[in-house]
């Protein structure tokens, strides 16, 4: 045994790592990183040096209330929109044109027009029908800008989510439907117990993106006098002309979106761990 290794060269250490050279890319990259660092420090310095305790104590609580409004808007619209989206997705896939065509028109109309325009249409449009709405006892709902915005968001995200679910459901092989039906499972049961759980996994990533889009999109609520985070920020800016309030808002929004993105990535990895090969 020892003879076999007798004439061999001894094990050597690995060669030293080649020194990274200062090429154009590295110089540019270092400079850009420096620029970001300088910008970050500059913003931090501006936030500290222009810190006005009076403005902070007066408007920060309002912004936090605004954050709560934003959170409510996003959570409620995503959930209610999701409930609306599943029948809508099924209608989109229906073979009956009388069901599929209107569902397609709905999705197309909401996805093809700006959210801000939709908010205006519903909020100001409802104002045109005060008497009619009062007659049917719905005016209390439409009188409040918050409700109008919430309803618009629900209808809007339902269209986007319907498209997500449709793609996800269609990604499940037909054989699964056939296998379930050969086992004597009801169509509804097949959908609920077999198709939907698998489709939800495919839908997970686009759904995460949709939630993030909704967080960002909810800022338009501020334009029709809803005091969400953006609305509170705008109010603070218009009263103080202190640009720092926009920077505070930017930091808060960035933190929410980044946290959501990371939490969603962890969630997705956890839920798909049985699919990893």
């Amino acid at each position: 045994m020892s003879d076999a290794t007798a004439g061999m060269i001894e094990a050597q250490k690995p060669p030293p790592q080649a020194r990274r050279r200062w090429g154009i890319a590295r110089i540019a990259g270092t400079m850009l990183c420096g620029l970001w660092a300088a910008l970050g420090l500059g913003i931090a310095a501006s936030l500290v040096s222009n810190y006005d305790a009076d403005i902070f104590t007066r408007y920060m609580p309002r912004m936090m209330e605004g954050l709560w409004v934003t959170a409510k808007l996003v959570v409620l619209s995503i959930m209610a929109g999701g409930l609306l989206a599943i029948p809508l997705a099924l209608a989109r896939m229906s073979h009956n044109p009388l069901i599929a065509k209107p569902a397609f028109a709905y999705v197309y109309a909401f996805r093809g027009t700006p959210l801000l325009g939709q908010v205006f249409l519903l909020y100001y449009g409802a104002g045109q029908f005060v008497d009619e709405l009062q007659a049917v006892g719905l005016w209390w709902f439409f009188r409040d800008a918050y409700n109008c915005v919430l309803l618009t968001f629900i209808l809007n995200t339902a269209a986007y989510q319907a498209e997500i679910y449709k793609t996800a459901i269609e990604s499940i092989p037909r054989g699964q439907w056939e296998a379930a039906s050969s086992l004597g499972l009801h169509k509804g049961t097949t959908f609920r117990k077999i198709i939907l759980p698998q489709a939800m996994i495919t839908a997970l990533r686009p759904l995460g993106n949709e939630i993030i889009l909704m967080v960002k999109g909810s800022a338009v609520a501020s334009i029709v006098t809803v005091f969400d985070l953006m609305g509170a920020t705008k109010l603070a800016f218009s009263r103080t002309y202190d640009f720092n309030v926009y920077l505070w808002a930017a930091i808060i929004y960035l933190m929410i979106v980044e946290t959501l993105r990371r939490v969603w990535a962890v969630l997705e990895r956890r839920l798909t761990r049985h699919l990893v090969r």
Partner: protein, 236 residues
């Protein structure tokens, strides 16, 4: 019927105002596109450069402009740009400067567009096998030639789908500039509503115009996509 008379062309009707607004919306989106595409491509090149510091800088850029609400980005560019420019000019003279709303809108929308476009380009770059660059090198092409003749045509083909989506999003997001007093389609509609008290009708017309713009865009983009993919084999 009275409603449709309000859509007449000229001083009594609002058709000309709406048309002007639509024209501004289209111009803004078209002006943002090359700026956003070029910046997005640069950021994507940085992301795929293999140089750690460049990748970090590019990722910070994407994180910021993908995470901020577009409306907030617009306000920061518009008001922040105004304040910064005023300070800069204030060093030399004390004239009052005003940031052009069109430029502010273009910059803000372009920053957001480029952040998303860089992701599209970066994943398209990953879809092009590394061996192709090596093959181009073996044929004696310069790096620029290899990029222009080998990488770019495939890059366009791989990213056209994602970029089409971004264009449709951009077209809708131009509506946000109406809040910084730029006379785009939505703002002119607001003016019309303010004077006629017919919100339902005018906002429906405006949304229908946006829908037509989207429709024309997706037809056009579909044709472009079919053209750049004409060499691909047909599946299914």
């Amino acid at each position: 019927m009275e409603l449709f008379q309000m859509l007449a062309w000229g001083p009594e009707g609002w058709a000309d105002e709406l048309a002007e607004g639509t024209w501004l919306t289209v111009r803004l989106a078209l002006a943002t596109l090359p700026f956003g595409l070029a910046l997005g491509l640069l950021v994507a090149l940085a992301k795929t450069s293999g140089e750690k510091s460049l990748e970090t800088a590019a990722n910070v850029y994407t994180t910021i402009f993908r995470g901020l609400p577009e409306l907030l980005t617009l306000f920061i560019v518009y008001y922040g740009g105004q304040m910064a420019l005023q300070k800069l000019v204030g060093l030399f003279t004390d004239t009052y400067v005003e940031v052009n709303g069109f430029v502010a809108g273009m910059v803000a929308l372009g920053l957001v567009f480029s952040a998303f476009a860089s992701e599209v380009f970066a994943s398209a770059f990953k879809g092009i096998p590394a061996g192709q660059g090596e093959a181009a090198q073996a044929l004696g092409m310069t790096r620029w030639q290899a990029f222009r003749l080998v990488t770019l045509p495939q890059l366009i083909r791989l990213s056209i789908g994602g970029l089409s989506n971004l264009w449709l999003i951009l077209l809708k997001e131009t509506s946000l500039v109406s809040v910084i007093a730029l006379n785009d389609l939505l703002r002119n509609t607001n003016v019309a509503v303010g004077s006629t008290k017919q919100p339902l009708f005018f906002y429906s017309v405006a949304l229908a115009i946006y829908l037509v713009l989207s429709l024309i865009s997706s037809k056009g983009l579909g044709a472009i996509e079919a053209h750049v993919k004409r060499g691909e084999e047909r599946r299914a």
